[in-house]
């Protein structure tokens, strides 16, 4: 026996998986083959614990051009235009080297979008950290500061604007921050590329950076082992990003696309060449020959298995008709990029890897790419949940001072302005950002048309913790609502599911429930899932992060001139609250900030009501009835009112009618939006709302220097601004400078 069982185990393969490989090959795998299987059958690449659940998600709709399975999903924007988008996690490397971890996360997601043949057009960065001020705050500040700098450092340098994201803080994320990045890009539908294409004889050309030892074992070690004290042992798994090289790759690949030189394009991410080549061959229904001697290496003396699974950044694999190879080389040379013919697609054989003429591996591509294991892991509802949900903050007495409670919630890091982060990002490059970060959703114009897309990311950790089904459902609903508040029609989602160790039944239950919530909501709202990413093992010492589904929603505006902002644009506009407010404080920001509780049942979600609200927003915006719209979510009506006043620098007077107490102010009932109507269009708005069955209430009128809740309290817009804008900068000013 040339491979002893301990080797496969130390590579993260179980005995059963090893046996399955042996059966599939009809012999035991050799060393190189074992390395290939270990990365391709890792959780990260094979989705072995999650795919049974992911399969239940709705993925189809007339707007979906490419669903899950390719490098990124693609949605039809009409008029022959398409949007490619995808979200991914880079939490594990970011926990030990925040700058480079986040930076290389951006690099990876951008290449996913590029590999579909689209020009990357915008980035979003949903982030979760531990609290900035509590014990351990110094490390959390170091992580937050480093991650933001890394996202900016990479995104700013490749000329892709960062237009949105989230930053939320919770103790459950102290040991394990969550760093997700989302990219979207545009292409004409007829110029889209597929990774999984190619014909017999096509050349495989490796473009970009040299292959080094970095990221060896990164996939199987980093993504399937829990972060423990011994983080230093995982050193080589953090990589150094080279955004300059990435920019050249973007331009070169788009030039190759425009010149019609590509039969296919694939990014090299997790599992490196092994993944790119096996997926390309399997997708084309062919075999392939891969010559490791032709791969430019960064260091001398690399072993074959290292070249096979290296995750060196900034590389792409192009599938090219043999007669086009010289043209491809010429374009790459012009951009100063290496282009090496490393292999060929071949009919009727496996993936045959050679080096200096020796056959090192011979594996059927589908065995690597498609036939990974699938687990139905046990799931069970955690027993601690009931007690937690029983303890409903609604039963607590009102706060001593509503004004103080209001200012505390407004200045809580979850609610407060994230300007500290997004000012470190280039939001404007490419010249299409109609609505930059700070609104409900970013709006990006499609150059040369009246169309624009709106995009938002959402996910409420407390809700997911207290009720994972609702956590998933609310993530979709809130993202859709955010998009609709710009006037855009929600089209489809991508997502990133961040969880603890799936081998623990309670984590698996959280995961399954979350997926159920996402699926139900996507079905009702007609927004299919086009792709995403699962990040497990976000836990240390047996304590996991909160179940953290993050949803990236894409919407379409047919005429960007009718887009809405969140700010009150003027005085003397009537303010309406659309949707019904219930007595729901469970899991609210108010309960966390003012009462110090994360408990109770999260707000209910009536999916049909949500759908009606979204339809109303889109219709009212399209008919130019609305002057502004802002969704009501974290912090409730009080915070929505404050944010709209601050954003517009216009005060507001909210009548005492239905906002007379803390519940009305801070309830986080779903499916609500705060809107203003253009003068003279109020009746029409009311008529449409009635007709569409959306409850509404006139709650106030804009104008004056302050935010007045009649009969309760008033705060000047300026004072509110100082609290809202000042919170995070003041916490971060205590930050020790990032290392060096």
């Amino acid at each position: 026996m040339d491979v002893a069982p301990p080797l496969h185990r130390s590579l993260g393969l179980t005995d059963e998986e090893f046996d399955a490989i042996t059966t599939r090959l009809g012999r035991e795998p050799n060393r190189a083959e074992l390395a290939m299987f270990s990365v391709m059958w890792s959780e990260h690449c094979s989705y072995k614990s999650s795919k049974a659940h992911l399969r239940t998600l709705p993925t189809e709709g007339p707007q979906v051009l490419v669903g899950p399975g390719e490098d990124a999903g693609v949605v039809d924007l009409g008029d022959g235009l398409a949007c490619v988008f995808k979200m991914e996690s880079h939490s594990h490397p970011s926990a030990i080297e925040p700058y480079q971890g986040a930076a290389t996360g951006v690099g990876g997601i951008v290449r996913d979008v590029l590999s579909m043949g689209a020009r990357p057009a915008a980035l979003l960065d949903p982030l979760r950290f531990g609290p900035l001020d509590a014990d351990g705050g110094a490390r959390n500040r170091w992580l937050f500061g480093g991650v933001v700098a890394g996202i900016g450092g990479y995104g700013n340098c490749i000329g892709v604007p960062t237009v949105g994201g989230e930053v939320k803080f919770a103790p459950a994320h102290s040991a394990n921050p969550t760093v997700n990045v989302m990219c979207l890009g545009f292409a004409r539908a007829d110029e889209l590329l597929r990774g999984r294409t190619g014909s017999d004889g096509d050349a495989l050309i490796l473009i970009g950076a040299g292959t080094g030892r970095d990221g060896i074992g990164g996939v199987s070690v980093l993504a399937s082992a829990t972060l423990e004290e011994d983080v230093l042992a995982s050193r080589p798994s953090v990589q150094i990003g080279d955004p300059f090289m990435e920019k050249l790759l973007i331009e070169a690949c788009l030039e190759l696309r425009d010149a019609g030189l590509l039969a296919g394009l694939k990014d090299l991410g997790g599992a490196g060449l092994t993944c790119a080549v096996s997926e390309t061959a399997a997708g084309a229904g062919l075999g392939a020959h891969l010559d490791l001697g032709a791969v430019p290496t960064r260091e001398p003396g690399m072993e074959p298995f290292e070249i096979l699974i290296s995750e060196s950044q900034e590389r792409m694999l192009a599938v090219v008709r043999p007669d086009r190879v010289p043209d491809v080389e010429r374009v790459c040379a012009r951009w100063g990029l290496a282009a090496s013919r490393v292999g060929t697609l071949r009919r009727g054989q496996g993936l045959r890897v050679t080096s200096a003429g020796n056959l090192l591996a011979d594996v059927p591509p589908p065995a690597l790419a498609d036939e990974g294991p699938e687990y139905h892991r046990p799931a069970s509802r955690p027993d601690w949940l009931d007690a937690l949900r029983e303890d409903d903050p609604i039963r607590r007495p009102p706060p001593a001072s509503l004004e103080e409670a209001f200012l505390a919630v407004l200045g809580s890091p979850n609610v407060a302005s994230k300007r500290w982060a997004f000012e470190q990002y280039d939001q404007l490059v490419q010249g299409q950002t109609l609505v930059p970060p700070g609104g409900d959703a970013a709006v990006i114009r499609l150059e040369g048309t009246l169309k624009a897309v709106a995009v938002a990311s959402d996910g409420n950790g407390r809700y997911g913790f207290l009720d994972p089904y609702l956590g998933g459902a609310h993530a979709v609903a809130e993202a859709a609502r955010n998009v609709a508040c710009t006037g855009a029609r929600p089209l489809a989602i991508t997502n990133c599911l961040n969880f603890g160790n799936p081998e623990r039944p309670e984590v698996m239950w959280q995961f399954a429930e979350t997926i159920r919530g996402i699926g139900d909501t996507c079905r009702t709202l007609g927004t299919p899932v086009t792709g995403g990413n699962v990040s497990f093992y976000n836990e240390s010492g047996g304590s996991a992060i909160w179940p953290t589904p993050v949803v990236g929603m894409l919407g379409l505006l047919e005429d960007y001139r009718l887009r809405l902002g969140i700010g009150f644009p003027d005085a003397d506009l009537l303010v309406y609250l659309l949707g019904a407010t219930r007595a729901e404080l469970g899991g609210s920001q108010y309960a966390e900030t003012v009462l110090g509780m994360v408990s109770g049942p999260p707000p209910a979600l009536d999916l049909d009501a949500e759908g009606r609200l979204i339809d109303l927003l889109v219709r009212a915006a399209g008919a130019d009835l609305l002057a502004s719209a802002h969704d009501c979510s974290e912090g409730g009506l009080a915070i929505a009112v404050a944010e709209a006043a601050i954003a517009g620098d216009v005060g507001v007077r909210i009548g005492s009618g239905s906002t007379g107490n803390h519940v009305a102010l801070f309830s986080e009932s779903a499916s609500r939006a705060l809107v203003t109507a253009w003068p003279g269009r109020e009746r029409e708005l009311q008529r449409v709302a009635e007709q569409m069955g959306v409850p509404f209430e006139r709650v106030g009128i804009t104008g004056g220097p302050s935010i007045e809740f009649e009969g309760l309290f008033g705060v000047s817009v300026q004072d509110a601004l100082v609290v809202y804008e000042g919170a995070i900068p003041s916490l971060m000013s205590a930050r020790a400078t990032d290392r060096g």
Partner: protein
């Protein structure tokens, strides 16, 4: 007593080093085609008030490990520790 410390922090061997590569690769266009290796790092120079030389080295090492470098990707090297009281700050040029 004041001890001067000079320290160099560089990326670990084996990691991609885009900065050094970009600078190295641009040299030939400026007429320097005879440079066969180039690496850029950070240089720290500081003065520590410590009871003795050993204490100064110990603190410098701790500062490097905990703050001035990230051992996940970088290595450091203390190049010099000297009695600073007598030496002017500009050791350069």
């Amino acid at each position: 007593m004041d001890f001067g410390v000079q320290m160099v922090v560089e990326l670990k061997e084996g990691l991609a080093d885009p900065q050094s590569r970009a600078i190295h690769e641009s040299l030939p266009t400026m007429g320097w085609d005879n440079v066969d290796f180039l690496s850029v790092g950070k240089y720290f120079h500081f003065h520590v008030d410590a009871p003795d030389r050993d204490a100064a080295v110990e603190q410098a090492t701790e500062m490097a490990e905990r703050f001035l470098s990230n051992p996940v990707i970088e290595r450091f090297d203390i190049r010099d520790v000297y009695v600073a009281d007598a030496v002017p700050l500009e050791t350069g040029e």
